[in-house]
Symmetry: C2
Subunit: 342 residues, 2 copies
């Protein structure tokens, strides 16, 4: 693969090149991984910085309608918008390509928008790396806004928040029960809560719900990287396109404040370090499942089960073998790995 050519075309903003590069980072094949790493290394010294926005909300809250309306508003202002989806639950359905294209019908046809569905991956760890790398690729392709959408399930919000500059939580209008349904942890990572469906019969309920959330937010501990008034709650109506410009102004104001205070760059640095450490841990454990370490593990596991060796002594033995086999294992792969500067 010609990494340099692909990189140049991504930097020129070619959507097909971007799509191909994302397919590359989504691949689990060793040679693809090596190409992906080389590509990302090549692209890392880009000047432009996109605003990375994480967005979460439970099913039915109107995420697709919101993204469609919000995305079209931004492209209408001349901004280029990328939408990435993270849905750990989509592993079963094998991705949601059709779903993502049809549920954001107008945005998906907009030349200034790029929509990428959730990859069909079962492990959140794998999803994390692929999403993080896809964000980097979108940023390298010159997108001004990268919106990373996730469903309100399990640990995916925390993961997306660790990749985003801002985190939005989309909520439905409703009473006290719904309020309690939002986990405290999610409240604590959100910068802006958007109560959607503030239209028609639900307008009054949405306003009241928004006030309830605003009250709840005031009970949370103040974060150092927040200016006065954040995190905040607002109402929007995705179907009536109401409040979207106001929400965007608030996002920009928050991002600007953080940039000036140095929190923006510091957060990205912390995130990079966080993912580096996560990758290291995952890489160490992934090697246990690969030959030849896997074979050594199975052999020692049998001896442990038979009582021929204690678990602790066997683990120490395996660690030595891991180190030796790991080094030997690496050698044949090296010639295939392209140099980052190739």
């Amino acid at each position: 693969m010609d990494i340099e050519d692909l990189a140049t075309r991504i930097e020129a903003g070619e959507r097909r090149a971007l799509a191909r590069a994302i397919t590359l980072v989504e691949s689990g094949r060793a040679d693809h991984r090596a190409d992906a790493t080389a590509l990302l290394e090549r692209l890392k010294d880009r000047p432009a910085q996109a605003l990375r926005i994480g967005l979460s909300g439970t099913p039915g809250v109107g995420k697709s309608t919101f993204i469609e309306a919000f995305g079209l508003m931004l492209t209408g202002q001349g901004l280029r918008v990328a939408v990435l989806a993270v849905d750990p639950s989509s592993a079963r359905s094998g991705g949601s390509i059709l779903g993502d294209k049809t549920r954001m019908e107008h945005l998906s046809r907009d030349p200034n928008a790029f929509i990428r569905p959730s990859p069909a991956q079962s492990q959140l760890g794998g999803v994390a790396r692929r999403t993080r790398e896809a964000i980097d690729l979108c940023e390298a392709a010159g997108f001004h806004v990268v919106l990373v959408e996730t469903v309100g399930v399990g640990q995916s919000e925390t993961m997306v928040a660790e990749m985003a500059d801002l985190f939005l939580l989309l909520l439905a209008p409703g009473g006290g029960d719904e309020l309690q349904g939002v986990k405290r942890g999610i409240m604590e990572i959100a910068d802006i809560l958007l109560v959607n469906k503030a239209d028609g019969d639900l307008r009054a309920t949405a306003t009241r719900t928004c006030a309830d959330y605003a009250g709840a937010l005031r009970l949370l501990r103040k974060r150092a990287q927040d200016p006065q008034g954040f995190p905040k709650a607002m109402t929007v109506s995705a179907v009536e396109h109401a409040g979207l410009d106001k929400a965007w102004s608030e996002m920009q104001a928050l991002a600007d404040w953080r940039r000036e205070a140095g929190h923006f760059a510091a957060r990205r640095a912390d995130q990079a370090r966080f993912w580096f450490e996560a990758e290291v841990r995952e890489g160490l454990l992934a090697r246990l499942k690969r030959e030849p370490v896997r074979g050594a593990m199975a052999t020692l596991g049998r001896q442990v089960a038979e009582g021929a060796i204690t678990p602790t002594a066997a683990a120490e033995e395996l660690l030595i073998q891991y180190l030796q086999l790991g080094l030997a294992d690496r050698a044949p792969d090296d010639p295939q790995s392209p140099s980052p500067k190739a």
Copy 2:
């Protein structure tokens, strides 16, 4: 340290040697770890097999009173009983030595009983290895029953169940609310539910609660390693020593059935393999926090934070350094490690 001498004294059932060996396995010092591993290797080919009983129950349910009464009943039958406590929450109080001795006043003075309080450890992983190894030591010292007690908090039950031949759950008499408070996961690992305090004013409530739990147990999926009627719910009264003999008969019946069906040995083999794999994972990750890998991680982490290298490329670089440094790191330690046959 004279491992052979210590091993011989443990095999002779010397309680002071056993206590000293448990202190050894609880130590985090590298030379102590090496001695502990050698000691356990030396002792692994023992003929006797204790019945390992896990016991959990929320605070206030009467665990101490139950263990005191149950333990004294067993020692009264000529059996030797060891009691180990696992309490992840005791990390703050720095162990509970006085507590364990005073709350089982008579049992702690019984020459056929050995009570070991929870070590003051903060990490459940470390507690797991130490507890597992302490069980092995008690078994090598010829104890007939090793009772491992844990509080009904977090993951400690699952951990103890992975070390035990049988798992008991001690419950308080009470209504439907209390019934729901018992997590489904805990119900599923319990072999026998004991509703305590079936005495005085609470006798009728305990009987009703027991029937409720019995009903709930029937809804659980049948496990292959269980004979007809298990898991089961029973009432006991620790203060009146009522139902303890019946509970002990049931434990023995279940253990006998499993021994004859081959499940007993198979479960121990599975557990040994489980802990071997857990130790491997923990050992790999623990090395990240030790020099010289820790230094390499800090250096690369800084470069990642500065944007000089991507998290993925840095993680790959660290993995190579981990393997190389890990092998180099090991060398100076080896001369200190006593041979298991020394």
